[in-house]
Symmetry: C2
Subunit: 337 residues, 2 copies
């Protein structure tokens, strides 16, 4: 453990920062054995236990304009945390603060990977009995150029290969019909680029063409690319849909008359067989979203993250460093278009 | 029943047409008592029982370019069915064939409602314990202009008021953050229009601003507007997500060891308490999508619809005629912007 670099945690970012973030960081260190560097205002952090602290006295507020804030607040916690990754004092960045600021800090301080115009948020969607399907972009770029979607395809393939051991990822594009020519103007233009055979061959990918919303959960592809607006809406729709559904199932099962058997059944079904499905869509349990395309592992948590969610995210960050996700993206992005 | 006009059914449209469509039409007439006019090739329709038939000898194929096909195939079943509505020989159009052709036939033969540039597909999303949230556009317009979203808002409000008795519908726009200024370029421009107070006041609407994917299932709005690309992807994602989920719940419940209680529990939970949730997202059970904005009720079913789905859709069409959905949209659309 001592040879591992720590995960740099933006202690000041999040609705309940720094208290909840510090608590999560301690949990990650104690429970999972992951080294952590807390970045923020030492006077506001309270008891940080044995964790090292890198001081940063400014904070990017939740409502601030991201790029401006990152440029002007040079001593902001999220900026200093990104610099720690750039300077090899930390292995990864985690922030539960202003999402745009975390992306901007990662982009401006760590830099882009060559061949990638815009970083994207990649989210693995759970597939029952199989490896996840990675959807990207889930929110970094509301408006996309067609060529960015080809870059997202390469990054997603690298992630699928590196994190889920899929040797030759099947990559498709999210649209509204199976037939060629279906989609909005950006998708149609992106399809023309994706249908060129060279990029797939060079990237070790099988391009499977048009996919629809129904293909996100059924394992017909390993990677699906979309613009950050559509991806974000779909992600939040399914997260919420599953939460509503989980509530309905719990209520229905708890309400059955066989009270002596209901309790164990509810537990066994919901916390047993269905757990992987629920957990895959529960942001509290999964921890954070991964930003791909910058030269350092960057994870972004919900502002409302609990201490457990922060701890899980820190563990995820450490694992992504361990499998060298950034190296995998760099290698795939360098393949010729 | 005799004073009601029949629902014009495109007998030749659908993966298993005309057999399955004719079977569904008979079921609607016999089981639900809804008058039906079958439109298609009498020689290919088989036994149509006591149902009247309007001959139409051409068919728009599933892969055909919609607008061209509707213009050139003047004797196509979907075109003749739309004409029957225009000419007051039928009350509504139902097609399970080429979706674009059904929209084009409705638009070109029945005409647009004044004040509506583009028709939109409206889908009620189920909300547990409340009236549905209507999402539109769910697929008619892959690329949208900002001003169309204001028209969608008015049409959705008319639908919510007329079909679900919501007196003053709360209308929001689907985007990727709560704060003003979040979204892609079309959404940002649409927000500026929607934030002008006059249209909402004139349309009897409460404009509630930015909504996210997580707000589709929780009843925080009665109507949510979006472009047809995003709406279609979200609809199919949730439909599929729920199907995957229903399968997982059934498997998990069926697999519990208390075999003597498992059967009834599965039945009671899935077919009882959870039925409204499942049914709301099962296209076979709900029947069809509603096209709003043309001067006649137009319902579009999945190509793979079963006879039961066709019968349900015919019943839905009849109900929408009964509540005068077209009159409600016409009235709301005429309100000044």
């Amino acid at each position: 453990m001592s040879d591992r670099l720590p995960v740099a945690v933006d202690a000041m970012g999040g609705d309940n920062a720094p208290a909840v973030v510090v608590e999560g960081a301690k949990m990650a260190a104690e429970t999972f054995g992951v080294p952590v560097l807390l970045v923020g205002d030492p006077e506001r952090m309270g008891d940080t236990g044995s964790l090292p602290v890198a001081p940063a006295l400014q904070v990017v507020e939740m409502g601030a304009e991201p790029a401006t804030a990152v440029r002007r607040l040079k001593d902001a916690s999220v900026v200093r945390a990104a610099e720690a990754v750039r300077d090899r004092r930390a292995s990864a960045l985690l922030s539960a603060g202003n999402t745009g600021a975390a992306m901007a800090a990662s982009l401006l301080r760590m830099g882009r990977i060559k061949g990638i115009a815009r970083p994207a948020i990649a989210v693995p969607f759970p597939v029952i009995g199989s490896t996840p399907t990675v959807l990207l972009d889930c929110g970094a770029n509301a408006d996309c150029r067609p060529e960015w979607l080809v870059q997202f395809a390469k990054m997603g393939a690298a992630y699928s290969r590196c994190a889920f051991s899929v040797v030759r990822p099947r990559v498709g594009i999210l649209t509204i019909g199976e037939e060629a020519g279906k989609g909005n103007s950006v998708v149609k233009a992106a399809c023309e680029l994706l249908e060129q055979p060279d990029w797939a061959a060079h990237s070790g990918v099988e391009y499977v063409g048009n996919l629809e919303g129904r293909d996100l959960m059924t394992g017909v592809a390993d990677v699906i690319v979309t613009d950050g607006f559509t991806g974000n809406v779909v992600l939040k729709s399914l997260e919420s849909g599953y939460a509503v559904f989980e509530g309905a199932v719990r209520d229905a099962l708890a309400g059955i008359p066989e009270t002596q058997v209901a309790g164990p059944i509810v537990e066994r079904v919901l916390d047993g067989a269905l757990a992987p499905v629920f957990e895959g869509f529960d942001p509290v349990r999964t921890g954070a979203a991964l930003l791909l395309g910058t030269r350092g592992v960057t994870l972004i948590s919900h502002g409302s993250s609990s201490a457990i969610a922060i701890a899980n995210a820190i563990q995820t960050a450490d694992r992504l460093v361990d499998i060298d996700i950034v190296g995998a993206v760099r290698q795939t992005a360098a393949a010729d278009l």
